[in-house]
Every structure is written in structure tokens, then in C-alpha cells.
């Protein structure tokens, strides 16, 4: 026991693990809100099973002096709510892990398991207060005490948090939290635990959201006023968030009978003048593909939030992956332009989702926001956001008598009218059509229309978001990532401390920014890092830049890269000789 480091500085990985439906979420919400209010940088992420009750789910809460929003393998403090939890996170437990467990509640444990367990008798204490439900506030109280959160602060928070409950329930939760503090004091004294993390009072004012909320906020900022979707993990968070906000922001939110209906509703909504989106995941998106193709030929704006999870088929419904890049890129039959965005940070998700609506409206094309389970379920504190600078432009014209929806133009963009606004008629067709929008089999017109649609790519490339270079310009080795891996690659890169290595993050993966080739050309060695087994982005880069990708670091077990794993694999890969 004496070997466990009792003093933890700057960066704590706390894991709470238990079965589904047993209140991990409550402990997590109370604790993370309190930590953030107290001025700590807080990051949270969870992994969970595709079931409503039982099993083992875990939440990692990372509390740090500087912003570190990425997954760790290491656990400094583990609170296993049941015995199965210990097994579930076994690989992550080391001799440095403090394990706070209710020994009596656990029942008999073998000698090996018992090692390092610090008794935290919350079950009996909870039933003394009034029932098992109060264990949540006891656990929250204990952890709050470990992080040095003022007990009065916690008490005020609980009053607010449980304000809609009966007075008796509020009182019992207060008692429970106080009990947690009491037990914690005992443990801290007996074990000599000390956590030392710098606080920054301004963090209390930070925004505290997860990836799904970031996408939802971005959608509202982009003028989204119509959402049609079919629930599917892990994309449902956006559907829920925007449905909650629908009344306040004038959004029609409809749960469609299937994804096919959802995507076709979205296109009808854009046609009539709305700004519409769908949120979906791999299998659901596969059903939408014909609708994407319809958007292509109709030159309809479309915004698709595609939250990736491991396929093929049903795959691992609640896990993460970056396996649908090529699905999005090639979805829909026929040739037509599209944009694919892949935010790596929460701010990026907000701004890119907003911009997705502007870009879709401007170029009259489908725009994808590619996230994944890890991204939408992870949250952390970010500084304030600015929306004033970029609002909806008047992208819809009042039509004249002779309005032609598909007027051939130099840049390929035909002014977009909507029915009932102006003197013209708005005719849009899934068949190849003439300038007026009516069905045609004139093969010259067909070529003119394909070329017109394609011409948009010139301006689309000019409008592409550039990749972000992390590190110096004088790199020999370039690490390349896209989407949700940004924080973890960045942290692992900084741990490497090598000046000859830089990291290039892409938040737009199609069409690629014109500078992409130059960034790649400068490197002697290029390493692409992504969450799929086919190295999909590496293929895209090879094709686009005609340059070799020397190594790939791939992961496809359903979990995000951890910082430790990324660091190890970078070290292994960077110095491999060709």
C-alpha cells in the first residue's frame, strides 16, 4: 500500500465505472460541473455498452492545470461501483491507481483483487440516509473533497441541481454529500492523499458542452430551422439537443419514419426556403444515399451530420470509428460536388457546422459534418464563442417572371428561388433537366448541366478551410490527422518534444485545400493517423497530392486512441527506416 503515490500533480485521470442505469451520469454531472466552476480544466468522455441496464460502462474525467481534452489509459483514481467494474477497466489499472471501493458491497474479493483497494463504504451510508439512490451524492461528495472543492460550494450547487425535486430529496442529497466529505476526510488523512492542480477562476465562465451540443449550437448559428432524422447511436444527441431547443429557436424537428424519409424531408424543406439538416450514423446514412444523389442533381443545399461508429452492418453501435470517410465521399450515384468537414475540437464543431449551412446555401450542394461517437460524447470547457461576425446572407432571391432555376452561369451557381417568393415558378427535378428545371433527354443539355455543376468546384476549393499546422515549419516528419483525433495527436506530439516532427490537422477533408500538396511535399516522411483499417484518408491524400504516404497509424477496435497509446505508436513509427 505504501508504494502508491499519494500526491498527484497537475493532471488527474479519474474513472467511475459501473453498470448502466446506476447513476454514473449523476455523479459525473455533479462532479464535473463543480470542478469546472472551481476553475479546473475538465474533460470527460465515456464508453458504454449497447444496452439500457447492466453491463459495465465507464466515464473518464480528466482534471488538469492546462487544457488537455484527450483520453488517457492511465487511471489515477478509480471508483468502481461494483465488482464487475474492476474487471472492465483491469487493463488500465496499475500499481499507481488509487481504487476507492465499497468493500462490503463488493462481497468477497480474492487477495490479488483486494490489493490496493481503499475502503469507501458508500452503500451502507446511502441506505442509512434513505436508499441506494443517495450513493450518487456520497460519491460526488467524496470526490469533490479530494479535489479540494469547498463544501459550501457543493451544497449550493446541489440545491440548484435538485431544485425540481421534493424538499426531502434535496435534504437527503445534502446529507449524502456531507457524508461523502466526511468519509473523504477520513481517507485523505489515513492514506495521505494530496491532489495539486492549479485553478484558473476564469474557467468558471467557460462554456461546458459536448460534441453533440457543439454541432447543435453550430446548426442554430447557421440558421438551421428544420431537422428531420431517425434516431441512431451515436448521432441521436444532436437530434435530442435541437428538439429541446426547437421551440426557442423556431425549428421544426421531426422524427421521420426512416432515414429515407428524413433525407427527402430535408430536401423538401430547403426547396421551400428552410435551412435543414439530418443527423445520422453509418447504416442510417447508407439509407440516405439516394437522397444525397438527389441533392446532387437538384443542386439542393443539404447538411448531413454523420456521427461515425464502427461498421460494417450494425458493427459496434456505441463505439467509435473514422470509417465512413469514403462512404461520405462516394455516397450517391453519379458525379456531383460536395464538401466534407471533420471537426477536431469543440469550437471547430460549432463554427464548421454553422459554416456548413452557409456553404450548402452558397454552393447548393450537400455538406457533411463528420464526427464520431468519441467526439459527440466527449465534453470539456472552452472559452466563449463569437457568432456576430458571420450571419446568414440573403442567399434566396425574389424570382422574376422568366425565372429559370438552373440558369447556366460562369461559376456554376444559379440564383436560388423558392416557391411563393417572387413572380417565377421554381421547378426542380431528379431527372436531368433544362435550365427551367424540366425533364430533358437533350444530350448536349446533359453535358452543359454536368459541367455547370462541376464548375462550382473552383470556388469551393478557394473556400476550403486550410489544414492547421502544429509545430515548426522546418519539419522532416509530418504527422497527419483529421477529425476527432486532433487533441490526442497534439498532446502526444508535444510529449515527443521533437522539433523535426510537425502535425497537420485537417478539419476539411474534401475538397482538400490547395496548400495540401505543399505541406506534404516539405516532409521527408509522412505518417497518416486515423480510426479505420483501410487508411481511407491516406488514400485520399495520395490521390490528391500524388505523394507517397510512408506510414499509417490505424486503430479500429472501437475505442479512440489514448495519449499513451498514441505516444508509443508515434515513437515506434517515426524512426522506422524505409
Amino acid at each position: 500500500m505504501g508504494n502508491i503515490p499519494r500526491k498527484i500533480k497537475d493532471d488527474v485521470s479519474l474513472v467511475i465505472c459501473g453498470s448502466a442505469g446506476k447513476g454514473i451520469q449523476t455523479v459525473e454531472t455533479i462532479l464535473t460541473q463543480l470542478l469546472k466552476r472551481s476553475g479546473f480544466h475538465v474533460f470527460g468522455t465515456k464508453e458504454y455498452m449497447s444496452r439500457v441496464r447492466g453491463g459495465s460502462n465507464s466515464t473518464e474525467i480528466r482534471v488538469s492545470s492546462t487544457s488537455r481534452p484527450s483520453l488517457l489509459d492511465r487511471i489515477n483514481i478509480l471508483v468502481p461501483l461494483d465488482k464487475a467494474a474492476l474487471k472492465h477497466v483491469q487493463k488500465r489499472i496499475s500499481e499507481n491507481t488509487l481504487i476507492l471501493a465499497d468493500k462490503e458491497h463488493f462481497g468477497p474479493v480474492d487477495e490479488k483483487e483486494a490489493q490496493g483497494l481503499i475502503d469507501f463504504p458508500f452503500s451502507q451510508a446511502a441506505s442509512d440516509i434513505g436508499g441506494a439512490i443517495y450513493a450518487n451524492s456520497i460519491v460526488a461528495g467524496l470526490l469533490a473533497q479530494l479535489f479540494g472543492i469547498d463544501q459550501e460550494e457543493m451544497s449550493l450547487f446541489l440545491d440548484q441541481f435538485f431544485s425540481e425535486k421534493k424538499p426531502e430529496v434535496i435534504e437527503n442529497n445534502q446529507k449524502a454529500a456531507a457524508k461523502g466529505y466526511e468519509i473523504a476526510q477520513r481517507i485523505v488523512e489515513a492514506e495521505g492523499i494530496a491532489i495539486d492542480i492549479e485553478r484558473h477562476p476564469h474557467i468558471a465562465e467557460d462554456i461546458f458542452i459536448n460534441g453533440a451540443e457543439a454541432v447543435g449550437i453550430g446548426a442554430i448559428a447557421g440558421g438551421c430551422n428544420f431537422l428531420s432524422s431517425y434516431p441512431m447511436s451515436p448521432s441521436t444527441g444532436v437530434l435530442v439537443f435541437l428538439s429541446e431547443q426547437a421551440e426557442k429557436f423556431g425549428i421544426i424537428s421531426e422524427q421521420a419514419e426512416d432515414e429515407i424519409s428524413a433525407v427527402n424531408m430535408m430536401l423538401g424543406a430547403w426547396y421551400a426556403g428552410a435551412r435543414a439538416m439530418v443527423t445520422t450514423s453509418g447504416g442510417g446514412f447508407a439509407l440516405m444515399e439516394e437522397g444525397i444523389s438527389l441533392a446532387g442533381v437538384m443542386e439542393s443545399p443539404a447538411v448531413i451530420h454523420l456521427a461515425q461508429r464502427p461498421g460494417p452492418g450494425t458493427g459496434l453501435p456505441t463505439r467509435t470509428a473514422q470509417g465512413d470517410l469514403e462512404l461520405a465521399l462516394y455516397s450517391g450515384h453519379g458525379d456531383f460536388p460536395r464538401i466534407i468537414l471533420a471537426p477536431g475540437r469543440l469550437e471547430e464543431a460549432v463554427y464548421l457546422t454553422r459554416d456548413a449551412f452557409h456553404l450548402a446555401a452558397k454552393f447548393q450542394i450537400p455538406v457533411f459534418i463528420l464526427t464520431d461517437q468519441y467526439f459527440v460524447d466527449s465534453y470539456y470547457n472552452i472559452p466563449s464563442l463569437d457568432f456576430q461576425s458571420k450571419n446568414r446572407e440573403n442567399d434566396i432571391i425574389e424570382t422574376e417572371d422568366d425565372y429559370r432555376r438552373y440558369r447556366i452561369t460562369e461559376n456554376g451557381i444559379s440564383p436560388r428561388g423558392v416557391p411563393g417568393f417572387g413572380k417565377g415558378l421554381v421547378v426542380t427535378d431528379s431527372d436531368e433537366h433544362d435550365e427551367a428545371g424540366h425533364i430533358t433527354e437533350d444530350l448536349d443539355m446533359r453535358v452543359a448541366m454536368v459541367d455547370k455543376r462541376k464548375r462550382k468546384l473552383v470556388d469551393m476549393k478557394k473556400a476550403a478551410f486550410p489544414p492547421e499546422l502544429v509545430g515548426t515549419d522546418n519539419y522532416d516528419t509530418l504527422l497527419i490527422g483529421w477529425g476527432s483525433t486532433y487533441p490526442v495527436i497534439r498532446e502526444a506530439w508535444s510529449l515527443l518534444g521533437r522539433e523535426d516532427v510537425a502535425f497537420l490537422h485537417f478539419s476539411q477533408v474534401h475538397p482538400l485545400h490547395p496548400d495540401t500538396s505543399a505541406y506534404l511535399r516539405q516532409a521527408k516522411k509522412r505518417i497518416v493517423i486515423e480510426g479505420n483499417s483501410d487508411a481511407q484518408f491516406a488514400s485520399l491524400l495520395r490521390r490528391h497530392t500524388k505523394q507517397e504516404i510512408h506510414q499509417t497509424i490505424l486503430k479500429y477496435n472501437g475505442a479512440q486512441f489514448s495519449v499513451e497509446e498514441m505516444t508509443t505508436r508515434l515513437k515506434e513509427t517515426i524512426d522506422i527506416k524505409e
Binding site: I207, K248, I252, G268, L385, L425
Partner: protein, 287 residues
């Protein structure tokens, strides 16, 4: 209003000579003119098939989408701009086969749209295969031993789902067809008009003569608000009833169940996000 306001002038129409589609087009124009609906206020939504080409043959706003998928965009268009008259029109294969799930759920949703289905009991554009409404035993190049599954009964389905307006018309009777269309378009809520129509090229069984002898008009004794009686009519086997078979005017329309017009009556195309409220929301996310 004259129905020629909807005329397209000289255009090439892809229908076969003698096709029932011509009569349906004419009746629709006449019904719209009688209701004083202007082309600018009308959106014709369709899928794919010979019937689904109808929006190209009358002056209107048009959303000619995917096979089987006319109802979801029609629902959305009406929700986004309730001032528009929205008609979703396609054939039996499109609406009853490919789009079956949307049919069921649009009946449940009850948007204020009219759903006209050209029902010729055969696939025309793909050259003569069975449609969902083909009769048992009907032989085709694919169903070589004759259709072996029960025909789809859209009328019974509509009544079972409490679709708010369910009617059947016959393309061989212009006046009655027009009257039924007028009632359907005037109805507040989802209105299904199944129009029996011969296919002169691929259906040698269900001809004008066949429809005449296998249909009858409901008389005044039929009460369309009596759901049980209507269901009985829908299940009749020897002769198919024509007219308004079922109507429920009590149901709320989909677009009135949203809150988007409570504070802002303006059209969606001019709306901008409320950034002030958004900032409040974000601040609340800091707590």
C-alpha cells in the same frame, strides 16, 4: 379562373395516346382553376414513373423527386410554407410499393396535402410488370405464372390509419373525377385520391370497360364520417366504390402541431437565427 392558366403551351408529352393520365391532368387543371389556386401558389411534388411526370405538364412550382419519395418532401414543403397548396402525385408503384412506409406515416402525420395516385394496376415505365395493386393471376413478363400475392388495398389502409380523407375516382369519368379532386384539395389535412386508370399499353385486363363494370358510385346514403361503414365499403370485393369513402375533419394538421409560427408568421426564407438567444443558451451551458 380558366384552367388554361396551367397550360404549358407546346410541349412533348411522354404518355401513350389514349392513356388515362391525359384525363387526370385535364381534371386536375379544371379542379385547381375552380378553386382559384394560382400556379405560383401551387407545388406539384412527384416521384418517378409515367404518372410522376405530370408536374412537368402543368404550370406550377415543381419538386419532382425520387421514386417512392414524394410524400416526405411534400410534408416538409407544406410545413415550411403553409400558404402553398401542395399536391403529391405519382403512380401506384411509386406511392404504394416503393413509398409504402411514407404512405403509412404521412397518413399518421396528416399534413395538409393532397395525394393523388394514378392506379393502373401495372408498371408502365418499366414495361409491364406487376404493381402493388395488380390482381391475383395477372400475367406479366416477370410474374409469368400470374401474380400470386394479394393486391394492396389503399382505401382500407387509409381508413385503418384514420387518414383524414380517402376517396377513389375513375379516370374515365371527367366530371366526377374533377368533383372528387375539388373536395380532396379543399380538405384540411391529408387527402388520398386513388384514381383508377387503364394502361392502354401494358394492362389488357383492367381496361376502360373492365373498370366500368367493376365500379359503382356511392350514393347519399353513405356517410363518409362513419369509419366502420367506410371500412366495409373499402373491403367490398365484387365492385369498387367511387367517391369520398371516408373523411375525418377533426384531426389536427401536421404543420399546426409545430410552434414555428407562434411568434413569427413570416416565411422561412427570410428567417435568421436569433443570435442573442443563442448567446444566452451558450452562457447557460457554462452554468
Amino acid at each position: 379562373m380558366e384552367s388554361n392558366i396551367f397550360d404549358m403551351g407546346k410541349i412533348d408529352i411522354a404518355w401513350c395516346p389514349g392513356c388515362g393520365n391525359f384525363a387526370i391532368l385535364k381534371a386536375l387543371k379544371a379542379a385547381l382553376a375552380e378553386l382559384e389556386i394560382t400556379p405560383h401558389n401551387l407545388v406539384m411534388v412527384s416521384g418517378i414513373g409515367q404518372a410522376a411526370k405530370i408536374p412537368h405538364y402543368l404550370r406550377a412550382n415543381v419538386f419532382n423527386g425520387l421514386h417512392g419519395r414524394a410524400l416526405p418532401p411534400a410534408t416538409a414543403i407544406k410545413a415550411v410554407n403553409p400558404d402553398l397548396t401542395v399536391i403529391a402525385e405519382s403512380g401506384d408503384g411509386d406511392m404504394y410499393g416503393e413509398g409504402g412506409n411514407h404512405l403509412i406515416n404521412t397518413m399518421r402525420r396528416n399534413p395538409d396535402i393532397t395525394n393523388i395516385v394514378h392506379n393502373n394496376m401495372v408498371y408502365g415505365l418499366t414495361k409491364g410488370q406487376a404493381s402493388p395493386t395488380s390482381r391475383m393471376g395477372f400475367k406479366t413478363p416477370v410474374q409469368v405464372r400470374g401474380v400470386a400475392i394479394e393486391p394492396f388495398n389503399p382505401i382500407a389502409l387509409g381508413i385503418a390509419l384514420d387518414a383524414s380523407f380517402v376517396a377513389r375516382a375513375f379516370a374515365g369519368d371527367f366530371e366526377q373525377m374533377k368533383e372528387i379532386l375539388i373536395k380532396a384539395i379543399s380538405h384540411h389535412g391529408y387527402a388520398l385520391v386513388d384514381i383508377l386508370q387503364p394502361c392502354v399499353s401494358f394492362n389488357k385486363l383492367n381496361t376502360y370497360e373492365w373498370f366500368k363494370t367493376h365500379t359503382y358510385y356511392l350514393d347519399n346514403a353513405h356517410d363518409p364520417t362513419d369509419r366502420t361503414a367506410a371500412f366495409g365499403v373499402a373491403l367490398e370485393e365484387n365492385k369498387m366504390a367511387l367517391g369520398v369513402i371516408y373523411q375525418n375533419s377533426e384531426r389536427a394538421c401536421f404543420e399546426t402541431t409545430t410552434t414555428v409560427y407562434e411568434d413569427n408568421k413570416g416565411p422561412f426564407c427570410n428567417r435568421k437565427p436569433n443570435l442573442e438567444k443563442l448567446n444566452d443558451l451558450i452562457t447557460s451551458k457554462g452554468r
